[in-house]
Symmetry: C2
Subunit: 302 residues, 2 copies
């Protein structure tokens, strides 16, 4: 089991879905990522919060053994996001974003984080992602996520950091935007041409595709009749994925594939409730049972 | 190996894609279905053509051993379809449809077709589909396809025939339209409530899902960088699917799953060229090789 470092956001989310609404609950990319990954490996978190951030939220992460010594507490307000989902639940409509202290976030790694063999750069400014890469000893696997905002506004900076990571985790719309390729297979192969050896494309209800050295792997999404709140699904996926890889300590194809499926398992739980509510009730046995369900749903013989 | 009967259309297609155009080439649901199925079992075809239909087209089907004794030749013009695809190649834009003799098509089964243990009712008027069911001895598996035109215009008639078949093969848009459910998992389960024991939902580039007795199976689509012409992909899938089931002669879960993958294999070849051009060059070795590629793309271990 190897240490997994994540740099991203810790936030307060207010979300409305057709099934209800919540105010200022625990959210943020690094939060979902850390919590999901904590089932598989030791996690270190780097992020920033304001002094208004509820301590009980942090206790949830501490209870999972997440090392919070890289969590900066700054003067000002915590990052707040307000969003809603319609009945198709496919895409969040952002109603308000208050960056607060996140606007001036400069990741600074505690000395004992610098040797982190596995690194995930969640969705932050690509120049900050590159700055984190400068602060760590060469990890065994460095991966990044990004979003349309950086793809459109910081294309060159994003290109530079893409050339320096081993893996990219994006959704299908981002993959198409990043490459200008409507065909997702070509988009994935084009991203490999930017530098990474592995690209993972999240396709929502259609599951995940991974391309590594030109080989493809496809995993479905868990069939869910009622997605309750999709917030955090992608970050939970990434956390499960990277957590399993770091837990194994190796980056061979079999490990990456197992990690894709565990990532899909974690995402499938996250969407069953608001915030991290479902994850905080989750047992190891439930994770293993759902992994078995994925095997059962995809098995066929000649 | 058991006989497989298909009732549908045999047509002349004119198609334009970003990669080229063809005029009055061999098309039609029963055509693609029969040709794809012929690699796996003995096929019987019921359809209607006009006296203008080129004999060479029929020779292609005869060479594959397709029994054409149910092919009616009527006074009038053959069914003609003119369509085009844009760069995303996801949906055909129909430019012209000339039903010709297909407008008065009344399927009439030759006596030796009445005992057909496997039956596929391709996309025709649901009352005609039901009429065919009246003409056959109870088959081991009767399946049907349909389309938005019948879902919107002939909902009640479609409901009647749905209650009498064992399996339904539709695409994702049709499944949603048929049920009013935006969630595809709920849509599939709702269709099972209409009567069939098995529902197969084609999701284009996202592959196929099958629900049988509430169990799900997911298969990806073969990753293709350049779809040349998607015309006939769904019918080729259905042909491969039903062909494998009929070839096995049984309808157990393992056979259905293997059939889904062979169906996906056949569709992946069809889209590589116009009309049936790729299928006419296809070898048994290529089919088996691509089936192996599907196994490789989906395999994972705990």
């Amino acid at each position: 089991m190897a240490d997994l470092l994540v740099v991203g956001s810790v936030a307060l989310d207010s979300v409305e879905t057709p099934f209800g609404r919540v105010e200022e609950v625990l959210g943020g990319s690094a939060t979902y990522f850390s919590y999901a990954a904590s089932f598989f490996t030791k996690v270190r978190l780097v992020a920033v919060i304001g002094r208004d951030f509820p301590g009980a939220h942090l206790d949830l992460l501490r209870q999972r053994g997440v090392d919070l010594s890289g969590l900066q507490v700054a003067d000002g307000s915590s990052f707040r996001w307000v969003g809603e989902y319609g009945y198709d639940l496919n895409e969040a409509k952002t109603l308000d974003t208050q960056l607060g202290v996140f606007a001036d976030f400069r990741p600074s790694l505690p000395a004992h984080f610098r040797a982190s063999p596995f690194l995930f750069l969640a969705n932050i400014d690509p120049d900050l992602q590159r700055d984190v890469l400068r602060q760590v000893d060469r990890p065994r696997l460095a991966a990044l996520d990004t979003m349309n905002f950086w793809i459109q506004g910081r294309r060159e900076a994003l290109g530079r950091v893409l050339a320096e990571v081993d893996a990219v985790v994006v959704n299908d719309a981002e993959a198409r935007m990043l490459t200008g390729e409507p065909n997702l297979i070509r988009a994935a192969l084009t991203i490999l041409g930017f530098g990474p050896r592995t690209v993972v494309v999240k396709r929502g209800e259609y599951g995940v595709l991974m391309a590594t050295d030109g080989r493809f792997f496809f995993a479905p999404a868990f069939p869910i009749e009622s997605v309750f709140d999709p917030t955090g699904a992608g970050d939970s996926f990434a956390g499960g994925f990277m957590g399993v890889v770091a837990g194994a300590g190796t980056v061979d194809e079999a490990t990456l594939r197992r990690a894709i499926v565990y990532g899909s398992v974690m995402a499938s739980f996250t969407v069953e409730d608001f915030s991290l509510n479902r994850l905080t009730r989750l047992t190891e046995a439930e994770i293993q049972e759902r992994f078995g369900a994925f095997q059962e749903m995809t098995r066929f013989e000649r």
